[in-house]
Amino acid sequence: MAEETDDAQSDDAAAPGDEAREALAAELTELLGDAVVETHIEAGQNLWLRIELEHWKTSLAALREHGFVYFGFLSAIDWSDAPEGRYEDTEFDAAGAGEDDDATSATAAETVRRGGGETRFQLLAQLHAPARHAAVLIKADLPDTDGIPATVQSIVDVFAGADWHEREAHEMFGIVFDGHPNLEHIYLPTEFEGHPLRKDFPLLARAVKPWPGVVDIEEIPPELEAQLEAEVMAEFEASGAGA
């Protein structure tokens, strides 16, 4: 009963939103022209726009002119696999890792990444257009040579709020923003070395001490799993029927 109403609600909510998103995607593709590599719409969720790195600043400026005047955030993603911040020698990670590898290989990179892309680093930003109640997530591939990402044009003179976000992306990923007035560490001490949010930056706390959270997700024997599942299901139905 509850599920039916849920579905009905989500269908009603999703349909017009997605149409608007498709229209917006087409509109922005026309606006930005060749700069757009790919657009992606996740039903009922968000619109992603992947643009060429060299058009990063001009595209954001064009979007700003086009009504996307409200700056959301700017960050980056490090897509490299190894060692993923995890440590294979601990019991917990070893247990999780095997299964994860299947999942990762089964889902190719393009299905993980909204809007596609193959580079190790990707820039990520979000803009709102308050007047038309729209938002867009913007991505750009950031090629790297031996782990040093390419330089990006700073958008501080387009969106003043990008200042701190770029500084954070700089210290966390080592991305250099060309034209930024003060590209220094924002959280970390000045003399700090390394870029903590890169996947190859080790999380020492995890390496030196076993993680107590292991007990929470111990593997459950299959027969017990089935029994628990049945109990949960029974409880669920009972509460639904009682309503």
Partner: protein
């Protein structure tokens, strides 16, 4: 006799020289550095602001943070999805439950799960309760920033009532850790709805009290009116959100404009804006919002649907590969989580877009040219939680 005359003439000479100096020598007042924090009562934590002063006037003010940077984005990468909420609770520690919601919603989006209506309702109620608990403290604390000590005791007294209600449901006053992927940990306790109605009435009384005690106060108005004016375009440019944005005349509230599926659509409420953009406007908007929140809670309490509070969710939560961004209108502004999953137990990357980080980034802009006593007023009126800046 000659000695005394000499002394007198000497003194007269010195006095004349000093008077001369007072009149003719311009005192050089430039380039004084005033360091506020990291340990300062007005910074609510360990925010440091390095100000360059010229006399009483601020030439530049640069916030320096990181004294409490805990690296939550990195830490989330080595925790399972349900374990992440423990960390996320501690970002904005005065409105903890509201922090959990967008993260859980993002995970639910990736998994294609939707919580049952009753859970959505209770989520929205607890969300608004944490807003009331969080902002009521601001309503009192703003008085302290401008020199009125009484209101903050009223605020602590009345906030406690809201925290008691949150505790009655979740078991935690500050860190409920109550939201689950697919629903909630528990249902409401017996008698809670009536109690909460009573507390909401009390909180409306508290808002009236603040209005009389502080907002109508002439000194308060003089200290806050036209201090720290942020025009709407600048607010948008810097990514300000929440009451700070609405106090600059921008009519934008994610609860209304981008509702991610909670029950706000179901009740009758309005978004308050103020055209002035000064410290007073920010106080005014927050006061109206707190009152509005009590009305939202009242309406939701009367219309909670019956049914389960948990959708069917596997015991071991594996989130399918993909990316999702969900943001909600938290007590401090837009809080969003960009969650990337590669199909495992843990998120691959979590970008946390916190409201205070963007809200405080306007400080260098807004402080320039203001006077020293206004620094504290402006900081107080922008209302930040340090954990929300540093993460």
């Amino acid at each position: 006799m000659t000695a005394a005359t000499d002394l007198r003439s000497q003194q007269a000479y010195v006095a004349a020289q000093a008077a001369d100096a007072r009149v003719n020598v311009e005192l050089d007042t430039g380039d004084m550095t005033l360091n506020i924090g990291p340990q300062h009562p007005a910074t609510h934590g360990t925010l440091r602001i390095a100000c360059q002063l010229d006399g009483e006037q601020v030439i530049s003010a640069e916030p320096l943070m990181g004294y409490m940077h805990r690296g939550y984005e990195k830490l989330c990468e080595v925790r399972t999805f349900p374990q992440c909420t423990t960390l996320i609770n501690r970002i904005d520690w005065l409105g903890s439950f509201a922090n959990e919601v967008p993260f859980i919603l993002a995970a639910e989006q990736l998994m294609g799960i939707e919580a049952p209506p009753r859970a959505q309702w209770i989520r929205t109620i607890l969300f608004e309760l944490s807003r009331i608990a969080n902002v009521s403290l601001f309503l009192g604390d703003m008085g302290v920033q401008v020199g009125a000590l009484t209101p903050v005791f009223f605020a602590f007294r009345d906030r406690e009532r809201v925290l008691n209600q949150i505790e009655a449901v979740t078991g935690g006053r500050f860190h409920p850790n109550f939201d689950r992927i697919g629903g909630l940990k528990d249902d409401l306790p017996r008698g809670w709805i009536d109690e909460t109605h009573a507390v909401m009435a009390k909180m409306r009384g508290f808002c009236d009290e603040m209005e009389d005690l502080l907002m109508g106060n002439e000194i308060f108005q003089t200290r806050c009116r036209s201090v720290g004016v942020i025009p709407g375009e600048v607010a948008l440019d810097f990514g300000l959100s929440g009451a700070n944005l609405r106090a600059s005349g921008v009519d934008w509230d994610l609860r209304r404009d981008a509702n991610p599926g909670l029950a706000w659509d179901e009740v009758d409420w309005r978004v308050w804006t103020h055209p002035d953009g000064d410290s007073f406007a920010r106080y005014w908007v927050r006061l109206q919002e707190t009152r509005e929140a009590t009305k939202i809670v009242d309406q939701l309490l009367d219309s909670i649907p019956a049914g389960p509070i948990m959708a069917k969710v596997p015991r071991i939560i594996k989130v399918p590969a993909g990316e999702a961004y969900v943001s909600t209108e938290n007590p401090l502004g837009e809080m969003g989580y960009y969650v990337v999953s590669k199909g495992g137990l843990e998120p691959f990357r979590v970008k946390i877009r916190t409201p205070s980080f963007s809200n405080i980034s306007v400080v260098p802009w807004v402080m320039r040219g203001t006077y020293v006593p206004d620094i504290i007023t402006i900081l107080g009126s922008l209302y930040f939680i340090l954990g929300d800046i540093d993460r």
